[in-house]
Symmetry: D2
Subunit: 444 residues, 4 copies
């Protein structure tokens, strides 16, 4: 995922100071310092169960070693905050090369697919690097002059959101690594919620009309959520819950992976070249039972859990088989407007989508946030009037707005404070290693 | 391009009969028979300059041999019309295998990239096959019972539009083949229009509002143009003419191909892996003069002609360099509503985009139709409420709606009767061998 | 195959003149002129059954279009003989680019894999080019001064041997092209010899000793056959005939293609990446009958014919399965010393290996020459004391002496006058499209 | 390299017992136990400078992680010795899967290119695995019945030679890993010998004659060195020392990498596809000084050191440029017969080729053993009469005898006790990561 979007130009962290004077600003500083500590600590606590060896491996070009995530997120603060504040040299020019992800304006970098070739710096050295950055960041946050913080507040806020994105990636990438290991090691012990029987899907109808989508500018948002704008949405229906493993298995059992009529042309090619016959992490035993790899190791497939780790192509094929379609991102956003952000998140530490806790109330949508990212049918495009930020941080703003699809709602490994109704995640339609699932929609 | 969309469910050819009785229907038949003859003859006349050898070569996986185009378009009528009318066998089971493009429901087929391995059937045999199909089609059109024609009229109409698409492809594919031949052979003699000095771009402003886009159902349309629906369009500006070679050369001279900041991430990768330094068919002499390959052979680059044979990535990078953007397909359609379809088309037989004939009248858009397909920033998606047709002809309807971008307006090798304001062409963002160019837009 | 070896330094065509004076030389000229005509005519007669379309296709990177073969062999005479004799310009600089195969010293050339992209020059133009070259060659051969011919005789002789190699390639490449066409067209009508029942293999034993191998310098030889030199050969046994289809089918039926223990490591990888389950051109019907593609089209597998179109890896695996091995090239040459060159050759016009005509006489080796090239276990290396020729013709002498295996004895599409006991053919161990088969050997 | 050859059928470890009775055998046991301890300890001592992270990375498909080497060598003893002795289960079925290299007969295994994806078992667990194997091996060696040891002695001896091969690979693979790290970490501190000025090459002449090559059966040998046999060797010359960096730099400076005439055809392709411009580990600074990566980090190129890390293609091109050639393996073996095995080996702990210590005595060959493996012009083939061993250990005997070239003499990372005059190492002609260099030869 990387950092995919530049900061809103006037985010909350600096904005209040403009209106409310120094006192409020001091509070904001304090809050920012606290949040900085909390978020940075969360990252390292996610690595607590790891052996040193687990930090090193890059299991595919799209994934990164845990060590790299730890260093890159620190490099971000060093490069975009500390150097801007103190105008001094990097801790190491080599680190700048090693841990830059894709910022052309900031210089050369290790090719993405070669992040797993780098045994040095060691994990201990990377932690020391983190600590050195944290120490200087804390000094900055505690003592900085008001104008300096005002100038850098938005970037720090961006860095924290960036860090949260990498928290999610640490877990998805570790899962992929453990999943490729014939030993199928567990990241940690299993932990299961209860969950009821899953009731049949109920369809909620939404009337057509001119709607507003996009972020309203209160609080932090990535620039790809801006500007808020009008869109005409035709009437539609939305399923009140996610598609389950049991439902998806019916598609598998019906030969869904062998019938081109359900698939996009590119999806059919992907299915053939990769030999897909089920979602990622599903394994069939010799007795034809389905097993599933989780961050707690291999176990039986749980029918009531939301299906997860499907590509856009599989989500789309399933929807066609089910005589439905995927929602557009505008539909999804309109439907979730005003819904409270609650669900199964990183902080719940299931690290796996959970069965529906209680049946949805009549006329209410469940599982909108957390559990799994929901594929939409919308290609990732700039909103009308979208303007990239200036400088290196904005370099990439439009850069990924091609050949990717939007996902909404966050997953079981997304931090709760990171997600919101307007949040636009995006991945290529072939991607399966994220916690991505399916909610059905239909015309109404 | 292939046939990319299924027919509208109730196209004009059968519709009138329902309202106006047999007499009108007889006229419709006659007109259809006449159009059938005209369009089929146009295809073969486009091949008149060819040597037999020219019919055989497949110059890249996306292009097809002329022989294949001739056979495939006939196979289309045989498979979807004659077999439906007479329920008899194909002329040859082998032909069904050889000349099916991508219809899974109709059976197996030659892999797309292997169309150039097939020396037999010979060109003469393919022409005999065309004649056999034409003879039976004419018999059908002249003598068929009213209900039969009513049932098949839409498919025949679709077949004719399909044939026109392949007329364009015959020329684009031949150009690519001749362009890869070190001899740079000419398809035919050059033919040039006059053309004035190109005036500076003037920007036309369009106000925001709720608009209608999509085809209204009067006359033929592909199903991807349906249904007509509301869309909210923000205010925007559109350049009154196309980008010229001279303007694009300024981008080249400014190092536009070497600066990642102008490029989408995938575009930069494409530029690097293909080594792009200029549009397709531009060649630099040792004296650093630009030459250009045309269907009339190699000649000097003409500064006033619209730039052509650029990928979406190059169009997008140029727009960013020019501090503008590409239009969305809705903007393009809104702007062209009510504009008469005129321009430089296949029938004009320039087979190359021409300089602006006369300066645009104040407040008028020029070069909207013909000359070059205009890249839009819109990924190719289904319209709200879109429904694929039933059966094999509809099999692929959604099938290509992923990873492609929409182009509008037709080109100098598009038949005039084939194009309209609502027409949606689409190609992957890397494609360059089509006559694709650039019109700039901007927020207003 | 290309021209793979440079001429012997003192071939017969010029040699006699040095000893015997002008009269003998005149006879040699006459003979050379006659042979020139015969061999050049043979090439075009092999193309007589072709449609124009058949000349154009390149069916894989290692094969070339028939048109290219016709032009390249003429280019050879033009470049290395006519330009040396008359020091004038090439017929066309473009032709020099188009029809150079791999001579770096002679300049740039069309990439090998792109020979099938070139529809022009047309077949008619290529024939005119051949005629222009022939006319000038005949003038040279008839009227040239003695010293000139003495200087060029070896090169002309080389050109004729080169032409014969391309005669074989024309047929192997056409067979491959027709074999990839779903119509399985026939190059010409079938023609079958009789053939007896194939008797069991008898093994001939050869005693160890110091032997001489390599060409003795009397008559033409490629430089890779030189110099004649001593080699110590351990005692060995050689099968008196080739392995048949029936014998090879027993290997197939025994699961030979599924058992890694019979295969070289690289061979097993090749088998897996290509999905080999039988020799090239074997096809299994739904009734599990084996059919075989020939230059006369598809027909039943004939059990008594020598197995053909196997790679080195398959030949080696078969030998291991049969508890034997392949002969070394020295063993093969020692065993064939003094054996008359007779067999099923190009001139016999079977264009397919034939069953053993009569059982071998006791103690005699059969099928040594013609029918199929026999894979040896010897990598293609320079002989001790080998020296490449000077100039462009010698440029490539050592150039192919790596990663290739030696084959011996010629095939059913080799001209009889082209082959001899010391002749060293060579192909990469994966190659299957040549007429390559198996004779077993063993330690004694 | 892997274990490339099966044991001689009657190696010294069991042989003496047959002749000399139990006492000798007890000594042999003791010696074997001692050698087992020494060699196994050497392996772990080579890993002493490593951080845990360094054990995990696989830097290319041909290299393996140090952790894998440690485990695989233990797996070898467990699989082929302990299981044969005690007929019990493996320590872990998973380990059998993870640490099998390529023995098809022993079961499935991790794909070679995926050895770096496996973070677990940890390094500590692998060391525990080694210790468990060592404990049981020691128990076996100390207490085993005579017949059991006699049966297993050859396999244990093979396992120790196998272990020594992996000692060399541990260092070559670590060097490649550190060489790809932008930090260019050092495996350990530099250590340099003195070395004189390098005198001009003197050529030693060897007369033609019937010679014996191959191992005579006294002491251990791999089966690819057997049987000893006669070979006729033409007279030849051999350079009295290795080619130096300074000499090779002259080739580089002369444009040797840009002139196809010096290169084999496949070599030229390799040079182009890899972009080779100098040996592996040579780096040019901006000031155009040559630097070289070593196991002690990056430093200036030392002109007097033997050139190292060249492929066969580069060695061959250099020789052609120098108007010489590479020796055949028979020439090399004939020339070194009776020469004492001394030189710069693993035990000297330079881990880098050293300049000539003293000028060679007149008529003596220097640097034959140690320093660098010397490429020969001989493809790796079976010796006449070669017979693979039975069972899994012999499975692969012929398996690699294709597409590889023989190297002779050992290198600065080869254990001294591992090498001998008849030892045949082999690598594909493209390989550069081994310590491979050049000694010139010529016809005489």
């Amino acid at each position: 995922m990387e950092l995919k979007a530049a900061p809103e130009m006037t985010p909350d962290i600096s904005e209040p100071a403009l209106h409310d004077g120094e006192q409020t600003s001091a509070i904001a500083e304090q809050r920012l310092a606290t949040r900085y500590d909390e978020i940075r600590r969360r990252t390292t606590s996610l690595c607590a169960p790891l052996e040193i060896e687990d930090y090193v491996v890059q299991s595919m070009p799209d994934a990164s070693p845990a060590k790299w995530h730890l260093a890159h997120t620190s490099w971000f603060f060093e490069t975009f905050v500390l150097k801007a504040a103190f105008a001094d040299e990097a801790v190491s020019k080599d680190y700048a090369y090693l841990f830059n992800s894709y910022y052309n304006a900031v210089g050369e970098r290790t090719p993405r697919a070669e992040r797993g070739l780098i045994s040095r710096p060691t994990v201990a050295e990377v932690y020391r690097y983190r600590e050195a950055v944290d120490e200087r960041m804390r000094a900055l946050l505690e003592s900085a002059e008001e104008p300096l913080l005002r100038r850098l507040g938005a970037t720090i806020e961006l860095g924290l959101n960036h860090e949260q994105q990498h928290q999610e990636l640490i877990l998805t990438d570790l899962k992929f690594m453990f999943g490729r290991n014939p030993l199928r090691p567990a990241y940690r012990e299993p932990r299961l919620s209860g969950g009821t029987e899953v009731p049949p899907v109920r369809w909620l109808r939404f009337a057509e009309g001119l709607r507003q989508v996009g972020h309203d500018g209160n609080g932090f948002a990535f620039d790809n959520e801006l500007p808020r704008h009008s869109v005409f949405v035709q009437s539609f229906q939305l399923a009140d819950r996610l598609v389950t493993n049991e439902e998806f298995r019916a598609f598998v059992d019906d030969g869904g992976y062998d019938k081109p009529r359900f698939w996009l042309s590119d999806g059919w090619n992907a299915r053939n070249s990769h030999g897909w016959t089920a979602p990622l992490y599903w394994e069939q035993t010799e007795g034809r039972q389905w097993r599933i790899m989780t961050l707690a190791g291999l176990r039986d497939l749980e029918p009531n859990e939301p299906v997860c780790h499907v590509s856009y192509y599989e989500a789309d094929a399933y929807a066609r088989w089910a005589d439905a379609r995927l929602p557009s991102e505008a539909e999804w956003e309109v439907a979730t407007e005003g819904v409270e952000v609650q669900g199964n998140f990183l902080e719940d530490e299931y690290f796996h989508p959970q069965p529906l806790a209680v049946a949805s109330a009549e006329g209410r949508l469940s599982q909108l946030f957390g559990d799994v990212w929901e594929w939409t049918r919308s290609p990732y495009c700039p909103y009308p009037g979208y303007r990239p930020a200036a400088g290196a941080l904005g370099e990439y703003n439009g850069k990924f707005m091609c050949n990717q699809m939007v996902l909404r709602g966050g997953s079981c490994v997304t931090p709760r404070s990171h997600i919101r109704s307007t949040y636009r995640n995006f991945f290529p339609p072939e991607a399966r290693w994220q916690f991505s699932g399916i909610r059905l929609a239909n015309d109404a």
